[in-house]
């Protein structure tokens, strides 16, 4: 019962973060909102596994946690240096 309440709250928060992604003035607002959406998706996957009584979904949630972290850093590195560290494609 409490799990269903929690997954509904996750959906509501996801919609609010999507609003911030749509109308964020700078790109960093959007990066921040996408980071929050990633966390909410992790929680949603784990809660969905518990509601459906298939806890194997926890593995997928763990993978999403790692991907969320790496993705945020990749986007920030492109913003700050203009490349992902590859010397041959670096902007002069």
């Amino acid at each position: 019962m409490m799990m269903i309440v929690a997954i509904t709250a996750c959906a509501v928060c996801l919609v609010m973060a999507l609003v911030r992604t749509a109308l964020g003035p700078t790109a960093f607002d959007r990066v921040l909102a996408v980071n929050a959406i990633g966390t909410l998706v992790i929680l949603g996957i784990a809660l969905h596994g518990f509601i459906m009584e298939r806890p194997e979904f926890v593995d997928i949630a763990l993978l999403y946690a790692i991907l969320n972290f790496i993705g945020t850093f990749a986007v920030l590195k492109i913003f700050s240096t203009g490349s992902l560290g590859d010397q041959s494609t670096r902007a002069k």
């Binding site: 019962m1 409490m2 799990m3 309440v5 929690a6 709250a9 996750c10 509501v12 928060c13 609010m16 973060a17 609003v19 911030r20 700078t26 960093f28 607002d29 990066v31 921040l32 909102a33 980071n35 929050a36 966390t39 909410l40 992790i42 929680l43 784990a46 809660l47 518990f50 806890p55 926890v58 593995d59 949630a61 763990l62 946690a65 790692i66 972290f69 945020t72 850093f73 920030l76 913003f79 700050s80």
Partner: protein
């Protein structure tokens, strides 16, 4: 009796997490600035996610699934502050100004009176 207690405890923990999630995403909409919104995202990432995962661990009991959930919780708890710190650092580096009144003008006008006060106090002592 013990099962009932565990159920209530996990429900309470998930309820605290849900409240933290709602407060955090409301702040993500309402706050005026990138540097302010980072606080709201930190609320979602640490308080909300940690309490909901704690509730699921209590609900599950001691097993491999609860170990994996604890792994997710520890990972989120340590990586989300690093990610938000990097966002703030890059935003400051790229020149995003904080919202607010007289933030830039206040710095030089504050410095001048302190120098005068110091000179007066030095004169008074001598």
């Amino acid at each position: 009796m013990m099962d009932m207690l565990l159920l209530v405890l996990s429900g309470l923990s998930i309820a605290i997490g849900v409240i933290a999630l709602l407060i955090g995403s409301l702040g993500l909409i309402k706050l005026p600035d990138v540097y302010c919104r980072i606080h709201a995202v930190g609320m979602i990432d640490t308080a909300g996610a940690s309490f909901i995962i704690l509730g699921m661990i209590i609900h599950q009991g001691f097993s491999l699934v609860s170990f994996k959930l604890a792994l997710i919780g520890v990972f989120l708890f340590f990586t989300s502050p690093i990610a938000t710190h990097a966002v703030a650092q890059v935003a400051h580096k790229m020149g995003v100004k904080p919202a607010g009144r007289n933030l830039v003008k206040a710095a030089p006008t504050k410095k001048a009176p302190t120098k005068k006060v110091n000179a007066k106090s030095a004169k008074g002592k001598s």
